[in-house]
């Protein structure tokens, strides 16, 4: 008798953001009537200038912020009815600044923090932690103190410590800050790998070239509203609209526009291919 290996058990989770608005206690309205639907397994980038509401929006997805009006549902869970810790079983959130997140004495303990909170068995936690460390390439420094790592390694560790919790949805805030070219490439391939596993990736980014290469869908925000929402190629090729939101189109598209092309390339390969063709 053939015993089939159990498939990775990720239940598909849809995210429904239904006309939410949010005002900070200081009186600043950060979000205004936002409606977004994210299907399971999508790769979505949130782009826009500082203060556009990107981080405020993603903080609603794991319940760190609750909408003043409207509702946010992750799967069947309304964020109003669940604590952030409960939401953490479905939505992983990698903070922009790793130093807000890392606090244990060793890399290993840091990684175990999330799985322990989820009350996993020791074996399950350890194997998930090991796999996540390997994924970001930090498996050789388990015993080091997180604060002895370089900034870019701390950033990878913060990412890995969230991946170890094996959530269906992964939110990642400004993943490429402080990374060199190789680091950016590495983060890109990690996101691709996660996406292959069927995970939903929601990225907040200023790095428009990274957005063009890594995300299939982009949402452009300005002044707490969604300005454009569609495939990344569609969104980014509306150069005049995104200019108005104070976002610069990716360099390849700007070059293509200057060359008078109709085709808007997202990656270097596409550009070269079009140039040759």
């Amino acid at each position: 008798m053939i015993v089939e290996k159990a498939p990775a058990k990720l239940l598909p989770i849809e995210i429904e953001v239904d006309s939410i608005s949010f005002t900070y206690p200081s009186g600043i309205q950060a979000l205004e009537d936002i409606t977004i639907h994210v299907s399971s397994g999508e790769r979505v980038a949130l782009i826009g200038q500082n203060g556009a509401g990107k981080t405020t929006l993603v903080k609603h997805l794991n319940g760190l912020l609750k909408p003043v009006s409207g509702s946010v549902k992750v799967g069947s869970w309304d964020t109003h009815d669940h604590s952030v810790a409960q939401m953490a079983t479905r939505v992983g959130y990698v903070f922009q600044n790793p130093d807000d997140q890392l606090f244990q004495r060793t890399v290993w303990d840091e990684m175990m923090f999330g799985p322990r909170n989820l009350r996993w068995s020791a074996e399950r936690a350890a194997s998930s932690v090991q796999a996540s460390l390997e994924m970001v390439g930090l498996e050789h420094i388990k015993e080091m103190h997180p604060y002895d790592l370089t900034f870019s390694s701390r950033k990878l560790l913060a990412l890995a410590s969230v991946l170890a919790m094996d959530t269906q949805v992964v939110i990642i805030d400004e993943p490429t800050t402080g990374q060199d070219y190789r680091g950016v490439q590495q983060i890109g391939s990690i996101l691709s790998e996660l996406n292959k596993q069927g995970k939903t990736i929601i990225g907040v980014t200023h790095d428009i070239d990274f957005c063009a290469e890594q995300f299939e869908r982009s949402i452009l925000m300005a002044g707490g509203r969604v300005v454009l929402d569609g495939s990344t190629r569609q969104v980014l090729s509306q150069i005049s609209v995104i200019d108005q939101a104070y976002v610069e189109a990716p360099q390849l598209m700007r070059l293509a526009e200057k060359l008078g092309w109709d085709f808007m390339p997202l990656t270097v390969e596409e550009f070269i291919h079009h140039l040759d063709g």
């Binding site: 200081s26 903080k59 794991n62 760190l64 604590s83 952030v84 810790a85 953490a88 079983t89 992983g92 959130y93 903070f95 600044n97 130093d99 807000d100 997140q101 890392l102 606090f103 923090f113 999330g114 909170n117 989820l118 604060y147 410590s161 969230v162 919790m165």
Partner: protein, 261 residues
């Protein structure tokens, strides 16, 4: 904003436009008078006829009352209970079974609560209406060594900065499944992961700020000019001097009153 300006709350009031040293003198006067004047009710008179009208004029009455209350109330309640019940000897005021409230204890509690009230209240009023950077500038103009004014201002700013940081770190831990609602034990456990990153990041913060101001000539020994100047009405220096005199007068008065009684 809270991070940059400490407790400061912007309001359209003429109090906010006053020179920082004028407000410093006013709250210094309250502080000194509250602590030195004898009598159980003197501090309450200062609060009712001095501090509260000023807070009203600053359009911060509710803000001041609620902030002061949050700090002072727990203290007041415990002082009343402890001093009222544990005062040895004394005249019983109310008796409930074996427990009795002593009149002397209650009087002591009223007096010390009043002192705390005026100290906390006048400090908060000053912090709510004065921008720390303006205060720093004003003190530097009067020849206060810049390292000292830096010390004062940074300690005013540290609490809100600390709070903001603590909240961010707590958010990051909750996002990794840390449950902070629930039993007291659970809450206590939740705070522990906060401590290390909070202290570490504050130390890093301090070092970076020290470097940042040093590269801009903080310790340069020569005379310095200021880009900004703080406006002050012609009568303000007079009021400041008057308040200084009033402080001295109050001090003498309270010594005399104590000697006489």
């Amino acid at each position: 904003m809270a991070e940059v300006f400490g407790l400061y709350k912007q309001r359209a009031s003429f109090i906010h436009g006053l020179h920082p040293l004028t407000k410093l003198a006013v709250s210094g006067f309250f502080l000194l008078a509250g602590l030195s004047l004898p009598g159980m009710w003197s501090t309450y008179l200062l609060v009712i006829f001095g501090l509260l009208p000023l807070a009203f004029l600053s359009r911060l009455l509710l803000e001041l009352v609620s902030r002061t209350g949050r700090i002072v109330l727990p203290f007041m309640i415990s002082v009343f209970l402890i001093q009222g019940i544990l005062w040895s000897g004394g005249t019983p005021l109310i008796e409930v079974g074996p427990i009795s409230f002593k009149q002397e204890g209650v009087q002591f509690a009223i007096a010390s609560s009043g002192r705390i009230l005026i100290v906390v209240g006048s400090f908060l009023w000053f912090a709510l209406t004065t921008r720390p950077d303006q205060l720093m500038l004003a003190l530097a103009e009067r020849g206060l060594p810049s390292s000292l004014s830096y010390l004062i201002v940074s300690s005013i700013q540290i609490v809100p900065r600390f709070q903001a940081r603590a909240n961010t770190i707590l958010d990051a831990q909750r996002s990794r499944g840390l449950e902070i609602a629930g039993s007291i034990f659970q809450r206590a456990r939740a705070v522990l992961p906060l401590v290390a990153p909070l202290i570490l990041s504050s130390l890093i913060d301090v070092e970076e700020r020290a470097l940042a101001i040093e590269v801009r000539g903080f310790n340069y020994p020569g005379p310095k000019t200021s880009y900004r100047e703080i406006a002050q009405a012609a009568w303000e220096p007079m009021l400041q001097r008057f308040l200084l005199l009033a402080m001295a007068g109050t001090l003498i008065l309270s010594i005399v009153l104590r000697l006489v009684s």
